[in-house]
Structure formats: C-alpha cells, structure tokens
C-alpha cells in the first residue's frame, strides 16, 4: 500500500482545440503524488497546470480539449475512459478540488451546511443526524469559529478566508485520498493566505491526504511543498524534492523563474535628501458616506489622515492588504476621485480642491498606470491612438505626437513600428509597457503605478519592474508605487508607507521598515509573507 502512489499520471497528453497557440495543452507529463505528500505544480499562466488538474477530475470541457494519450491512475484505478457515473462517484468521495475564487465556487443561494450536506447525501446514506454531526465536525477541523453559526450562514456573510475554509471542509468531509488545490490562496490577502496554507498542511497530515497543489508563487512553494514539478508550455521541465528544485535548480527555466522572484532584502540606494519634494499629502482623507434615498448613511473611512511625501527621483511604496485604502490614496492624488479632507501638494500647489478647470493642467503632471493590462487599453483603438490621445488633448499635432510615441515605444523596449496594432495583438507584459508609454507621453512629474505588476507572471513582472526603475532614473521622475506584494516593494521603493484600515501605521525608508518594523501589523504582515525563510532573488540565479 505504502509504495503505491495515490495519484499517478503517466505520459499524459491533452490536445487543444484547433487554432489555439499550440497543439497540446499538456504534453507527455508524468506526475505522481503519494499519501501524506504535497506536490506543487508550479508554472506561469498558460503553462498547463490547471489543465492537468482538470484532467484528473474529468472536468475538461469535452471533445475539443481531451486526453489523447497516457494514463491517470487514482489509487490504481484508471480514470481515462472511465464513464461519467464512475467519475461522479469518485469526485467528492475519493478525490476533490478547491478553487481559486471561493465566492464564485460556492452557491450564494444555499447555506454552508446545505452545501456540505449535498456532498454527503450524494455519496453516502447517512441519516440527517449523522450528516449534521459530520458537518459540525469538519467545520471544527477547518478551525472555523462557532461552527453551528457558520453552518447556518450564507457565503456572502463570511470573509474570503472563511469561505475558503468552507470549501476545504466540503472537499475533505468524505476524507478523499486526493485533494487538488488550484491556486487556493491567490485571491486572498497575505495574512489569510498564511493561515489557509497552515490549515491545508495540518489537515492533510492528520487525514493522510495526498495533495496536488497548483500555484504560480514560489514563496508558497517554499512554504508548503514536499516535491515540486515545474511546468512550461505544457511540459514538466523539472521535477524533484522542494529542497532540490528551489536550492539547486538545473533547468534554465526554473533558474530564471526563481531568479525573478524579488528578494525580501530591500535594495539600498543613496537617498536624495536634497532633491525637491514633488508631491506631499497632508492629512489626506476620503470618506464614503454611503446610503441612498431610503438607506441610512453609513460612513466608511477609506483613507484617514494620510501624510506622505515623495522627492524627485524617489519611489514611495504604499503597501497594504485589500481594503487598506492604498488605492484610494492613489486615486485621490490622481484626482480620479475627490478627497473629502486634507491637502495634496504637487510642487507646492494644493490640488485637493482644484476645480475641473484647474485640473485640466494638473492632469498632465500626474499620470497613473493601472493594474489590469487587459482592460486599461481601449480594445477598439490602436495602441498608437491610445498613446497620442493625451498629448493631442493639449494641442500637440498628430505628427509630433506620433513621433514622440515612436520614441516612447523604444524607451519601453517595444517595436516602434507596432503603433498601428491593436491591444489584443500584445501580451500582458507588452500592454503594461504600452500603458507606461501612454503615461510618459504626458511628460508627468509624478508617475503612479497602482498594482501595475500584480497581474503579470513573475518573469514578466521582473522585466516591467526593471523598466519602471530604469525610466524613473532616466527621467528623474517621482514615483508612487501601490502594491500588496512586500517583495516587490522591497525591490522598488526608497520609502515605504504601510497602510491598514485606511491609516498609515508605519512610514519610513525601505531599509528601516523592512529591517526593523515597529508596528505590530507590519510585523504580522512580514511574518505572513510566503517563503519568508527562503532567500529568493539572486541567491538561486
């Protein structure tokens, strides 16, 4: 028993529909997962890691995308070619899956206990009392407070972390031999992520579960994996124990990936103390009053008394979890929303209360790069048209603007000849470069990057970060860098402000904040960062 793997994938190939970017979604992959073992499947987007998981669960969309060779054995039983009825019996009972987004993976119209009960009624003939007992038992095991109340709650009444715990409870209630986790913590904040990872580890140890854990995050891999398989373009390029792969990678792609993970040690740069202050905020606050015609107003303080400053040539990082108010501050400074209180000084002018007419001139001096590279360019306009839109608003002739756009394309390391192409012809990283070019076309004094690299794969992320840093230096820009990723902040920022519930709880140079955090929240944030104990960045490259 002990030597037979719970899951054994051998030489599996899954084809893609005609007209896709490659012939096979996954090609000739072999992975095995033993009892009590966590195997991490790691790779960038499009590497085929989710397809592998879906093949095991028999959840591939059908004829266009189906296994064409190889075998998948669950506890010795062949799954390829198994009929739908058998797969239904196995799913939930012998193997189960948890997903990235716990809100959409749970049915919003059913209470949590009804959803767990559904698993039990489908696969067992327990009576109602037995089912209730099991539900409360599993909810206790996933460490949810007050299980009876949680059981009676609807998904929207729970937090993201609690929802993911419910998902795990659902997946584990029948004690399956195999648990597949598809990026289960990607949508969660870093502190919640740390808790969920700990839970998965504990619970799989006590249940002897085999876990196939899919992730793109090497920090998570370092924290949780026993063994690692690295995927690229549908193939497993490297496989081994976590220690071997992380510390002694042999394949160049693995080396590149691990080398691209930013280090936690802040990069120290001489501060430019005498450089002029480009932007400063004084008690900047934003309060949403909420309420409507018939609802009582319920004010929400999104940002409260934020006071920071950025000098020319410097980067200020605002880090925090979702809902901490970091984007609110950025949007107030860019005047995409109006601050409710306080001052924003741009080269000495208070822009917090600038009228729409005054704003017209201010807009050129503050530019912003958004998070989602797929939505921040109008899909119906050529990238050239997007880049020259701003300068032409301020009276530059189309010819001059196009000439400048070509220079900017070179500056962001893209082909200047591709200005007449449409955004869908570019990849995510390239689009983000175009967005940077669009921002630079205005000749701003302050560049705001609002989670500008969060949606990118780690290797592309490294390139874009490099580019941003290069541009800041070359153009002597002040930069405001909003991120939830502490590693990124450590690499890019000169000064760091940590935000929590709308307030800046810690503010200082990167070396101070990362080296000797003072506030409890900052410390817990650092402690929760995945892969904390592992020296990434340079160490393995």
């Amino acid at each position: 028993m002990t030597d037979r793997p719970v899951l054994e994938i051998t030489n599996l190939t899954v084809k893609l529909p005609k007209g896709a970017d490659r012939e096979h979604a996954i090609e000739d992959i072999s992975i095995s997962v033993r009892r009590r073992e966590i195997v991490c499947l790691v790779g960038e987007s499009g590497s085929g890691k989710s397809v592998s998981a879906f093949s095991v669960m028999g959840l591939l969309p059908g004829r266009d995308m189906a296994p064409i060779a190889g075998s998948i054995k669950l506890e010795g039983e062949e799954l390829i070619g198994a009929d739908e009825a058998r797969m239904r019996d196995l799913r939930g009972a012998r193997m189960s899956m948890i997903f990235q987004e716990p809100m959409t993976a749970l049915n919003p119209t059913m209470t949590c206990s009804q959803q767990i009960e559904e698993v039990l009624t489908t696969h067992t003939d327990f009576d109602a009392d037995e089912r209730q007992k099991r539900i409360l038992n599993i909810l206790e095991q996933v460490q949810l407070p007050d299980p009876p109340r949680m059981a009676a709650s609807y998904p929207h009444q729970l937090s993201g972390g609690q929802r993911q715990r419910i998902m795990i409870a659902m997946a584990l209630v029948l004690e399956p031999a195999l648990l597949i986790a598809d990026e289960p913590t990607t949508a969660l904040d870093v502190t919640t992520q740390a808790q969920i990872l700990k839970l998965i580890k504990e619970i799989q140890a006590s249940h002897d579960t085999a876990v196939l854990f899919i992730t793109h995050d090497f920090g998570v891999v370092a924290d949780i994996a026993d063994r690692v398989a690295v995927m690229q373009w549908g193939k497993v390029v490297e496989e081994g124990t976590a220690d071997d792969v992380l510390r002694r990678p042999t394949h160049p792609y693995t080396k590149m990936l691990i080398g691209s993970v930013p280090s936690f040690t802040p990069r120290v740069r001489p501060r430019q103390i005498d450089a002029p202050v480009v932007l400063s905020t004084d008690n900047l606050s934003k309060t949403y009053s909420g309420g409507g015609f018939f609802q009582k107003a319920r004010p929400v303080r999104a940002a409260n008394a934020v006071t920071v400053e950025i000098r020319r040539g410097e980067t200020l990082g605002i880090v925090g979890e979702s809902g901490s108010g970091k984007s609110t501050v950025a949007r107030c400074i860019a005047r995409l929303i109006n601050p409710s209180d306080g001052h924003v000084y741009l080269d000495g002018d208070d822009i917090a209360k600038a009228s729409p007419f005054q704003l017209r001139n201010l807009r050129r001096r503050v530019q912003i790069v958004f998070q989602d590279p797929y939505r921040s360019l109008n899909p119906r306009r050529t990238v050239g048209a997007s880049i020259i839109e701003g300068p032409m608003n301020y009276g530059t002739s189309q010819r001059d603007a196009m000439k400048r756009a070509q220079e900017l394309m070179s500056l962001v390391r893209l082909d200047p000849g591709s200005l007449d192409r449409y955004p869908h012809q570019f990849s995510g990283g390239q689009r983000q470069r175009i967005c940077i070019a669009r921002a630079l076309a205005m000749g701003p004094d302050l560049l705001i990057a609002d989670e500008a690299v969060s949606a990118l794969d780690v290797s592309v992320q490294a390139q874009v970060l490099d580019l941003l840093d290069d541009i800041r230096q070359r153009l002597d820009l002040a930069m405001l860098f909003i991120t939830h990723d502490l590693r990124v902040a450590a690499q890019v920022c000169d000064t760091v402000a940590v935000m929590h519930r709308g307030e800046v709880v810690e503010y200082g140079t990167a070396a101070e904040v990362f080296g000797d955090p003072q506030h409890d929240y900052t410390r817990s944030l650092f402690a929760a960062a995945p892969g904390r104990g592992f020296a990434f960045g340079g160490a393995a490259a």
Binding site: P379, R413, G428, V460
Partner: protein
C-alpha cells in the same frame, strides 16, 4: 530599435491569429441571410409598387365588391383605353383591388418600422449616454423614463390622433415614444459598466474632455447591442402600426396599410377570408424576417465576441 520582449513574443503570435471577418460570419448565419433577403424583397416591392401591375389602391368600384382572387374584368385606364385585368388577390368590400393595396401597404409598414427604430434609438442613445455617465442626472432621467414606460402605446396613439389628427407622423411618434425608455435602459446599463473600465479612467487622467470620452471610448461599445435592439423595435413598431390601423386610430383608410386592410376585411372574414389572409401573410413574413435578422445579428455580434480583443 531595441529588442522587443522575447518572453512575450510567443503569446503575441497566438493572439494575432486571425479570425474570419465579421461580414463573413454574418453571411454564414442563416437567420441573417434569410432576414436580409425577405426584408430586401419587401423594400423593393414597396419601392416599385406602381410598376408591378397595380392600379390605384384607393379607387372604389361598388360593382366589383367582394370578388374572390383570380376574378377577371376589363378596366378603363386614365388614357381611356380598355384593358383586361385580373384581381390577383380579389377585391374588398368597397371593390378596391386587394393586390394593389397589399403591395402599397408594404410602404407604410416599412416606413413606420424604420423611422420608429431610428428615432427611438437616436433619442434613447443620447439620453442613455448622458444619464449613464453623469451621475446626478441619472436618478431624475430614469424616473422620467419609468413614467414614460408606464404609458400604454396604444392609448398614447389614440390620444395623439385625437389631438393632431390621424397620419403617418402621428403614428410614428406615438409608437416611438414608449420605445425610448427601453433603449435608454439598455444604453445606460452599457455605459455604467464601460465607464468603470480602466481605459476610461486612463482617458480621464490624460485630460480627455467629457464629449470625446463618450464619443471615442463609450459609444463604440453600444453599437452592436443597439443594432440588435433596433431590429426588435422595428418589428414591434410594424406590428403596433398594424394594430393601430386595425383599431381605426392609426393611418386613415385612404392610405392602405396591412392593418387597415385587415380591419376592413374583418366583418366578412368568414365569407371572404382573402381580405385578411393576404395582408396577414405579408405582415407575418416581414416581422419574422426582422426578428430573425435581429437574432442573427445578436449571435454574430454577441458580447462573447469581445474575447477576440
């Protein structure tokens, strides 16, 4: 030129794989083809009505009342010449040639359908854009639209006809007004989702004024849904016009429309069914064509198409 990303170039090659053009996809869609062919046929019928062997659709001849289709007779042309003539679809209770009336009737139906669609889409689009984008106006405009939607179009038509007298313009206005709120709601919902897109925010932050933002970034997203909605409005307008004429509150009887031909045939329906059957078939066929065209357009212009960007 510096070297473009090597890492990204494969993904880029994948993204630029071309799909067949929109026009080809439409041709391949049978509903679009059928709808277009039938509608074109109706338009041509209406345009060349005088040359299709028709006579004056309003000329009354009590001797030749209620004749069945295929009745032969001789008629005197304005030039004084006598010629043989066949009532292909028979005559109505006043002796008017039904074939001529049905063919000329196509004109009114198509004109009403087209103009109602154009007017309601144009006005609805303008109001919807403004109301969706300018927050403080939204509440007020939408309550007015709720009010407009509560007016039954047939009652409104009766009211307008009693005010201004019967006529094509009155009927078009009466049908178009209650359609406007539906278009406004559609456009507003699109605008509400588009204006949250980062590319709209990006346009704001590079200083693009309101009107160009609406025109460049928001408006193009409304074209496909409006084209589809327009065909539905058109179909319903043709039907409502027929109903109004049938009830006698629409186009006056001297102008033939499919609705008032049927209204006249109603009394003797059991004896002479052709009075209702022929205009009925034309009406049904036209509405079917418009609706199929709308369905086909929806399928080819579906929002899921946005994936190709």
């Amino acid at each position: 030129m510096t070297a473009p990303d090597l890492v990204d170039s494969a993904a880029q090659a994948a993204a630029s794989a071309q799909r067949p053009s929109l026009f080809r996809q439409m041709l391949r869609n049978h509903s679009v083809t059928f709808g277009t062919v039938v509608l074109l046929a109706m338009v041509i019928l209406g345009l060349v009505a005088p040359y299709l062997g028709t006579i004056d659709p309003a000329s009354i001849d009590p001797v030749w009342r209620n004749k069945v289709p295929g009745t032969e007779r001789t008629i005197t042309l304005p030039s004084g010449e006598d010629v043989a003539f066949i009532h292909r679809m028979g005559t109505d209770s006043l002796g008017r040639d039904l074939y001529s009336r049905v063919i000329y009737g196509a004109r009114i139906s198509l004109i009403v359908g087209l103009f109602v669609a154009l007017i309601s889409v144009a006005i609805g689009l303008t109001i919807g854009l403004v109301s969706g984008y300018i927050r403080w106006l939204d509440g007020i405009v939408m309550r007015v639209m709720d009010g407009l939607m509560a007016i039954p179009n047939i009652l409104l038509a009766i009211g307008l006809v009693s005010l201004w007298g019967a006529g094509v313009v009155t009927v078009i206005i009466a049908i178009a007004v209650p359609e406007i709120p539906r278009v406004v709601r559609l456009v507003r919902s699109i605008v509400l989702s588009i204006r949250e897109e980062p590319y709209v925010e990006a346009a704001i932050s590079v200083g693009t004024p309101l009107i160009p933002i609406l025109y460049r970034h928001v408006l193009p997203n409304t074209v496909a849904p409006l084209l589809v909605q327009g065909t539905y409005v058109c179909a319903s307008a043709i039907l409502v016009e027929a109903i109004l004429s049938f009830l006698g509150v629409g186009i006056p009887p001297e102008t033939p429309t499919w609705g008032n031909i049927m209204a006249e045939g109603r009394v003797l329906f059991q004896v002479f069914p052709h009075n209702i059957m022929f205009p009925g078939v034309f009406l049904a066929l036209t509405i079917l064509a418009v609706n199929l065209l709308g369905d086909g357009l929806r399928d080819t212009l579906d929002p899921r198409m946005a994936k190709r960007f």
